[in-house]
Amino acid sequence: MTLAATPHHVGSRIAKLYRIAGPFSLILLGLVLIAIFAPLIAPNDPNSQNLMGRLKAPGTEARGTLYLLGSDELGRDLLSRIIYGARVSLSVALLSVVLSGVVGTTLGMAAGYLRGWTETVIMRLVDIFLSIPAILLAIITVAVLGPGFVNVILVLALTRWPRYARVAYGQTLSVAGMPYVRLARAMGASWPRVLLRHILPNIIAAMAVIATLEFGLMVLFEAGLSFLGLGVQPPTPSWGATLSVGRNYVTSAWWIATFPGVCLFLLVLSVNLIGDRLSEYLNPKTR
């Protein structure tokens, strides 16, 4: 039934993927590769301090170390910190999107298919969560739970699942009313089977669009929390935290804030553009 994964098929699949995602996907791909291979690419240890080499401008050398993008307030190589920072940004965003996506989609589908009190309870909760500004909720919960890598992911998932739940709920309602779902039930499919085999595959595209857009948002949320000192803790390099430090040196050492800022901008931009193209591709009206 499934096509064999011959090189030709793999090639044409990649070509198709590229056609859908567009040229900006190359930026994302580049950043992902950088994150994966950070130890191989980074010219220096991101955490090794050099107090004699503080605030060096891009391109300068101090004590045998070349600071290609300059150094920070502790004399750490900015380029290496940015390269390792990509790991933090991407992994926090990915894990929080997966977690909130799975939880939100499951609850939304349950509400949309089972209806009754399940629907009432879940959708009331969604309304309540969505009425609180997300970043505020994130800040408050982090303040309670304490900062750190795992907590940031948990907090982001807690804050963002309602968005998936609401979309999954609406999609499930409309797909559940489709004649093919009625037929599946008339053929004796149990409700888990109806949900997993007939509804989920037909709503997954819509969920993927939301997940892509959320991914960009999660990158910003993580940066924002780290900027406020509520995210991943030093010395782990995070773009948001570096940006926050750089703010103090904007006039004397512009590079500290600028380069992580540019990276954040490029990452979020490329993810959002991919999301837009994806939703356009999947929308039957524009296809």
Binding site: M1, M178, P179, Y180, R182, L183, A184, R185, A186, M187, G188, A189, S190, R193, R197, H198, P201, N202
Partner: protein, 326 residues
Amino acid sequence: MTEPTLQISGLQVQVGPHKVIDGVDITVQPGQIVALVGESGSGKSLTALSIMGLLGGKLRNAGGTITLSGTPLEHTSDAAMRRLRGQRISMIFQEPVASLNPLLSVGAQVGESLVAHGKADAGSAWSRAVQMLRDVGIPEPEKRARQLPSQLSGGMCQRVMIASALIARPELLIADEPTTALDVTIQAQILELMRRLREQTGTSILFITHDLGVVASLADRVCVMYGGRIVEQADVDDLFDNPAHPYTRMLLATIPRVDSPRKQPLFSIPGTVPDHDDWPQGCRFRTRCPLAGDACLQTPPLEPKAAGHLAACWHSDKVAGMIDHG
């Protein structure tokens, strides 16, 4: 006498306080094709869904008994009811294309009820599905099985739906206007297929339609429905020749006849079906019936008027003398 495949008596379905189905009696004998006819809104689909145990939302079963080859269904649990569906009773619908999952191959959907009930693993379900596709007259079934519904025509999709409904050899197939969305030639082919499958498998069929031409060519027996009640039930020839209910008589007058003068306008029943929350008291056809009288303020029971011929009308003896509108 053998046990009927389906025996419904006194079936009631309510939406809130309103009885949308109010006393439906239907009997389907083994191997029989019974047509359920009536205008839009008369409750045909609700009757079918209630047999399947698939009433949802605000609809609920409010009384009566349904027996499937001796098994009473009205106290069957939801889980047990689910195990009957696709195995002992199947249902097919209008909109053949939309009734198939756009993302699943045709073969997987035909084999679905076998897999869903654990009657076969995916592999053997697949080969039985291919065989079933061949049985319903789909050319190149191996190739078609691998295709998606969007690659098939409407008529083919209806054959696929029939294949998936019959793969587990159910005793009863309920077909809710399966040909309404298809054009005339395809419609004739599907009817021919159902006739043939009935001969081959002995499956009883409850066939819902509002097309009396289809009834005449397919059914052994007919139940006429009006306002959530069965108003007449008889063998097909008997019904066409000696209708015992004014509604049936008037429905028959709406069939265009080959021998009628060309210019003559088609007869249609005056008035419309009242809303389900607005039925007149007594006989529900009273507001549109030319024979209506004082007696009709009482609900007429569905009772034998001749051997094997039931009707619910106080004045069935006058039906034969009704002025011919056609």
